[in-house]
């Protein structure tokens, strides 16, 4: 365990600041917000995945008792286009071109949810259905109908270094495989919901469930055609994110409806609406070719990655941008030729989800490593050790690995732990059942993950105020999405202020009171926002230590300090070369599975993990992230997957889209950390949110192979697939 022994707040398993409020049932989520004379919105959604919108006639809906207004694209006063990261190509209400099934064409606003729902059935909409495209392959065919004037290619990105063709010619072994991963849903339990309140005639306050509030403010101000100062966005208690939220059109729609009607408006999506229309994890097809030397060194990697971007850009550019830089895994590879693309289809648009394009490529590169090990007669951990990134070596984007990185140490530790397991509780040979009739096997997977946003200067900002009673208030722009970031950031502030826990109160994610500091995503909050918090706290401490604030009298402004932290990451050149992140988290998971040879049912029996994540700020929250991340990884590995039929989600609820339950998630998860010193974050800390989940699915796939001899190149590895493999 990396040492934090001299610290008093950082490194302690404090209970989370919002725990009591949540355990009392007092935390208010967006759907819980009730305002006087509030109206309710429901959406009229397209039943077609691809269509021309010819007309919308609201007259019959307006005659329904309780219906107050019906909004269409014509009611959008500003620019009817929203999106993320600089690409705004999605209307909040369709103007003329429907691109996915469930896309909103009108919003009915009424005195009750029931009246609004009745109203939606009465809105008359004329469509001219168009031929749709539902796979990237169909979408890129020469005669494919185009979603946008510029065609169906959403984005392309490359990573090139050295000479892959030469490496291939020298190789003793060349291994090529194609891997497929499904679209999956975040499946946070809280519904998508938003509430807007008009403040006089020229301002609006909007409560959302979101991982970020400032971009939501920007989008709403553009939709309304208002200056940003007139739009206040506040994150209510957030019921899980995992990369998802805000649902940008939802926040914009309630704001528009509130401004139009002059009354507060709430809208909550049903579970089915969320499954059909909100962001997901991108499905990928990944073709990897490794050129290997006989001694197990990787000479070269060729990768071709195709992501289904769905109907709008959302985050696809950045997701693919991250994937092309991470598709090698944490290995030194001198010769690399990688091309990735995102392709528009008439499917619901995926967005950001825990791992941001990396779980898909990690599934591919980690099964490759096991196949390579088997072909060369090497132990799976050994082949990884021969190639793992060490300080001074470049990643495939040419970023030198920093001194103090413990990626190798993670592998060595896992090797020790696996040897101990083998000594005390050995698995029978492949295909031979143990005394309980189960086939057993361990599998490992390694990964690395750049902390922060890709190839942009990532900026964290924070503000600290000393209150009249001597306590402190920390203002940060990122919401606590459930992972505990308010608590983590307060611990950092307490430590730097040298005040006892918990003398710091946190106000987060309110555009009226907090500075823009990027989203609660990219495993960046602890690192990037944490550094800004640390710096603001340091300034406050120095101010107070030097006698500042000593002459403060009631009525004076309260002493306040703000700070900004910028990562030293760089942009990438046309070959994808550069230093896209300030720091990386490294790690290895080893998973033991038991397979029932009669049914093909796979059970995860034990999980060991070793992380280079810097010092742990809060061990309780760290363990929570790892256990939750592993459980998400188990779902991804074994049963989760959105089933699409011509753009329609066939499993849009929790009885058809199954999540791991307490009965599926019984394996102990034993996570350790290794010494590491490269962390850019406060006190050297790095991010764990996404790294918790990334290696689990490939480790399970490798374990199933070890147990049964079956190789699986496509997720999820369902019971039926395992059963069939066992019959072959």
């Amino acid at each position: 365990m990396a040492t934090t022994s001299t610290l008093t707040a950082v490194g302690r398993p404090f209970e989370r600041l919002d725990g009591e409020r949540k355990a009392r049932g007092q935390a208010l989520y967006a759907a819980d917000i009730e305002l006087p004379s509030m109206l309710h919105g429901r959406l009229v959604r397209s039943p077609h995945a691809h269509a021309r919108l010819l007309g919308v006639d609201p007259s019959a809906a307006l005659a329904v008792p309780g219906v107050v207004a019906v909004l269409t694209a014509k009611d959008v006063p500003g620019r009817n286009a929203v999106g993320s990261r600089g690409v705004q190509d999605q209307p909040i209400l369709v103007t003329d071109h429907v691109r996915f099934l469930g896309e909103p064409v009108a919003m009915v606003v009424a005195e009750s949810v029931a009246a609004a729902t009745q109203g939606t059935a009465k809105v008359k909409v004329d469509y001219e259905p168009l031929r749709g495209v539902f796979t990237p392959e169909e979408a890129l065919a020469p005669d494919a109908p185009a979603l946008f004037e510029r065609g169906n290619l959403c984005h392309q990105a490359r990573t090139r270094r050295g000479d892959f063709d030469a490496a291939r010619r020298q190789a003793a072994l060349v291994v090529t495989n194609v891997y497929r991963t499904p679209m999956v849903d975040h499946a946070f339990l809280e519904p998508h919901a938003a509430v807007a309140r008009p403040d006089g005639g020229d301002a609006v306050t909007v409560w959302v469930t979101a991982k970020t509030v400032h971009p939501m403010m920007d989008e709403i101000s553009r939709i309304l055609g208002w200056p940003k100062e007139k739009v206040r966005v506040i994150a209510a208690t957030v019921g899980g994110s995992f990369g998802g939220k805000p649902e940008i059109p939802l926040g914009c729609l309630v704001a528009l409806a509130a401004v139009r009607t002059g009354r507060p408006v709430k809208m909550v999506y049903t579970r089915e609406e969320t499954f059909q229309t909100s962001a997901k994890r991108h499905p990928y097809v990944v073709r990897l070719t490794h050129a290997m030397a006989a001694d197990g060194h990787i000479l070269g990697l060729h990768a071709d990655i195709t992501a289904d971007a769905g109907a709008y850009t959302t985050e696809s550019r950045a997701v693919v941008g991250r994937a092309v830089g991470h598709c090698a895994g944490p290995y030194y590879i001198p010769n690399v030729d990688v091309e990735g693309r995102a392709v528009f289809t008439n499917n619901p648009a995926p967005g950001a989800m825990r791992g941001y394009g990396v779980p898909q490529v990690a599934f591919a590169h980690e099964i490759q490593m096991d196949i390579i090990a088997a072909r060369l007669g090497l132990d799976p951990v050994e082949v990884r050790l021969r190639n793992v990134l060490k300080p001074g070596l470049p990643t495939i984007t040419g970023q030198p690995v920093l001194e103090g990185v413990g990626a190798e140490a993670c592998l060595l530790r896992i090797r020790e732990l696996l040897a101990a397991e083998d000594a005390t509780d050995p698995c029978p040979p492949q295909g031979v059942p143990d005394r309980n009739g189960e086939l057993l096997g361990w599998g490992v997977a390694t990964f690395y993950y750049g902390n922060g946003r890709t190839a942009v200067e990532d900026v964290g900002r924070a503000r600290i105020r000393r209150e009249a009673d001597g306590s402190f208030t920390l203002f940060v722009g990122v919401p606590d999405v459930g992972q505990g970031s308010d608590t983590i950031l307060a611990q950092v502030a307490c430590e730097e202020l040298r005040v006892p826990w918990p003398a710091v109160k946190v106000i987060s994610a309110d555009t009226a009171h907090t500075l823009e500091t990027g989203p609660s995503s990219a495993s960046r909050v602890t690192v990037v926002v944490g550094r800004a918090v640390q710096e603001a706290a340091r300034r406050m401490r120095e101010f107070l230590d030097s006698g500042g604030g000593a002459d403060w009298r009631p009525g004076d402004p309260l002493p306040e300090m703000a700070a900004e932290y910028r990562t030293d990451s760089t942009s990438l050149d046309k070959n994808g070369q550069g230093s896209p992140y300030g720091t990386y988290t490294y790690g290895v998971q080893a998973v033991k599975v038991g397979v029932d040879p009669r049914t093909g049912k796979v059970a995860v029996r034990k999980v060991l993990a070793a992380y280079d994540v810097g010092p742990i700020v809060n061990p309780l929250l760290f363990q929570g992230q790892v256990e939750g991340g592993v459980t998400g990884g188990v779902g991804y590995a074994l049963f989760e997957g959105i089933r699409l039929t011509e753009g329609r989600v066939a499993n849009p609820n929790f009885h058809t889209y199954l999540l791991p339950t307490a009965l599926d998630s019984t394996a102990p998860v034993l996570a350790e950390t290794v010494e590491s010193h490269d962390g850019a974050g406060p006190f050297g800390a790095k991010g764990i949110g996404e790294p918790a989940s990334i290696p689990t699915a490939p480790a399970i796939a490798n374990a199933i192979h070890r147990a049964t001899g079956g190789r699986f190149f496509e997720l999820p590895i369902t019971m039926e697939k395992v059963y069939r493999a066992l019959r072959r």
Binding site: Q483, G628, N653
Partner: protein, 154 residues
């Protein structure tokens, strides 16, 4: 409209409801008890779990009229009269069983119903009792630990 009387958290409440109104909607919309969460409305997720005459139920699947004359306990009933947290609530907080918190009220009520009828359950019995309560954040380990802890002390 039908007139019903519910005993909610020990207090008798008379409400007029439609035949189709669910117990969940009465609790949230009529009685303002927002601790009980509404999500799938199909009995899949368990976020709306309350205790009805001693049994944990999904309140989205119970019509208000079915609850007429019966005893309902919600998460708001767990702390005592002076507002002190129950041992179960404390254990959830201490053990890290709460993350985003959306499943927490329902999870607490399923756990309470179990411990009320079986104060010393096995781990398997705990997992069985909360199998209808989905949680996407924690992986369940800390929730199971928290319930075990209360059982050990109780």
């Amino acid at each position: 409209m039908l007139s019903i009387t519910l005993n909610v958290n020990g207090i008798s409440r008379k409400v007029d409801v439609e035949a189709t109104t669910t117990l969940l909607d009465v609790l949230r919309d009529r009685l303002g008890l927002l601790g009980t969460k509404k999500r799938c409305e199909a009995g899949d997720c368990g976020a709306c779990t309350v205790i009805l005459d001693g049994r944990a139920v999904a309140s989205c699947l119970i019509l208000a009229v079915e609850a007429d004359g019966r005893k309902v306990l919600t998460v708001e009933s767990l702390s005592n009269a002076s507002g002190e947290l129950s041992p179960l609530q404390k254990a959830f907080i201490d053990k890290g069983a709460v993350q985003c918190g959306f499943c927490t009220p329902g999870m607490l009520m399923s756990a309470k119903a179990l411990l009320d009828r079986n104060p010393h359950p096995t781990e398997d019995e705990i997992r069985e009792a909360i199998a209808g309560n989905l949680c996407r954040c924690t992986g369940y380990a800390k929730i199971v630990e928290a319930i075990m802890e209360v059982s050990r002390r109780g």
